[in-house]
Amino acid sequence: MASAPHPWLNPAVTVGGLVPLVSLAVQGPLGGLGSNAIEAALNYTGLSALVLLVASLACTPLRFVTGWTWPARVRRTLGLLAFTYASAHALTYVVLDQGLSGSALLESLGERPFIFVGFAALMAMVPLAVTSTNAWVRRLGFPRWQRLHRLAYVAGVLGVVHFAWRVKKDLTEPMLYGAVLAVLFALRVGEAMRKRRARAAAAARNPA
């Protein structure tokens, strides 16, 4: 394998991405999270998961727009960080907020759509995290692997819906993330259409 031109890049993103989570884990027990530490931890891990997921989804469109190759190199790291924060978010809810009470959790999932949507977003990320290794790319074959990983967009949309449902009144911030997702998606659709036109043009020039 050719050596990566930026050997520091992925370690740096991993460490930088985990620093806030570690600081949260340290600050929580020390009382540094304000009056309602569990609520603060939930808000923080949830929003971080969404930010990192959107960042991972931005890598490919960013490459289309700029021609840079480094964004594609950090995409997997960002996605795994998003999954880490989403898991921390869910664990905080299940263990700390609901005290591992099975009945309260079932009631949450059954009666509160916003909890269900958040749960669905996490579940959509599980197969992506599992198949994030190179071995899985080979095993599935790249086209199938790529199709599976479009679930990341589903997780992103569910994450935005979960966030929008959570806020009591002001929808500005969830709308902002929704708009970013829409732009990223539009860039991908545009790129796909450009490629198809290019293929069609090539086929027209070289009729079989």
Binding site: P7, L9, A12, P20, G34, A40
Partner: protein
């Protein structure tokens, strides 16, 4: 003895010199990138890490609270610390985040201040806040407060029963409801510059609820003047209802014939009813009301019907379907 030439052993071979430069460069890029990622994440999400308790504004002590044995309405449960009561607030006029109200409290000037008492009363009037407060000897009430979001506190309020104030203006026989209006001034309450809710904030009670001895007008807490983030200089406290019923920074109290509009009920009627009685059996679409977290606790505790005041107030709702009249 000096020698201008360093010994040969000190000269770094060029290849190693270049590798070291590359290592240093990579270490710098590593640190810069890591700091950038961590900083970026914190920038986008960090303000959700909660309030800082270090900058609690001191509203200044008022006359020492009347030291007394727990009264008939006082809970004996441990009081929520002053820092938490004054830094964890929902007061959308001072910001949507719970840390915002304490941060922006300095913008609200609780003096001079007047309160208008009008509507279905025999003696309508507009009075200066200090004159109004001089009418009533301050009383302390230690009440539970339950927020619709599923957290609760125990707060020692200073103030007087609303019934005493209503007696001053003599409701007419047509009066059936009481409406409370918060100050409308986007300079003092910058949250009003954004139409998050229909400003000014209004709340309302049925007259019998307003006259109930538990219904309280607070002008202080913990023996100090009410801080702005808690609704200075005068706020409503109805301990058996969700916290949002307690209008803050009140400038007008009107008695009405018909049920007044209330802000949250207008904004989302399916989520926020006019009554808003604490009721563990009726969930909010997003929050179970069966349990609550007392601020400072790790676990949750069961929520009591009418927030534990059922014995005193349940009769007010005899015959009503509290699932419909939530």
């Amino acid at each position: 003895m000096r020698d201008d030439k360093p010994p040969g052993s000190d000269i770094t071979p060029e290849s190693l010199y270049l590798r070291r430069r590359e290592l240093l460069k990579n270490a710098g890029l590593f640190l810069g990138t890591a700091a950038g990622v961590a900083g970026g994440l914190l920038l986008l999400t960090g303000r959700r890490l909660g309030s800082s308790k270090s900058d609690v504004p001191d509203a200044g002590a008022v006359a020492q609270p009347v030291v007394k044995a727990a009264g008939e309405f006082d809970t004996l449960e441990p009081r929520t610390p002053y820092e938490d009561v004054t830094t964890y607030n929902n007061f959308y006029e001072l910001g949507l985040d719970k840390a915002d109200p304490a941060r922006l409290a300095h913008l609200l000037k609780p003096r001079p201040w007047t309160v208008t008492l009008d509507g279905e009363v025999h003696e309508p009037r507009t009075v200066d806040i200090d004159q109004l407060l001089s009418w009533f000897p301050p009383e302390e009430r230690v009440y539970r407060m339950r927020c619709v979001e599923g957290w609760s506190m125990v707060i020692p309020w200073m103030g007087f029963p609303l019934a005493a104030l209503l007696a001053k203006v003599k409701p007419t026989s047509h009066a059936r409801y009481v409406s409370f209006t918060t100050l409308m001034d986007p300079e003092q309450l910058p949250g009003q510059k954004r139409a998050v809710l229909d400003w000014p904030y209004t709340e309302g009670l049925r007259l019998d609820e307003a006259l109930h001895p538990l219904t309280f007008m607070a002008m202080g807490l913990y023996g100090r003047q009410l801080p702005a983030q808690n609704g200075a200089p005068l706020r409503l406290v109805v301990p058996w209802k969700y916290g949002f019923k307690g209008g803050k920074s009140i400038v007008r109290i009107s008695l009405t014939r018909t049920q007044p509009f209330t802000t949250w009920n207008l904004a989302a009627p399916e989520e926020y009813g006019f009554y808003a009685n604490v009721n563990p059996a009726v969930p909010h679409p997003r929050w179970s009301q069966a349990t609550e977290r007392r601020i400072g606790d790790l676990g949750r505790r069961p929520t009591l019907p009418f927030n534990g005041y059922a014995e005193q107030v349940a009769h007010l709702y005899a015959g009503m379907d509290l699932r419909k009249n939530y």
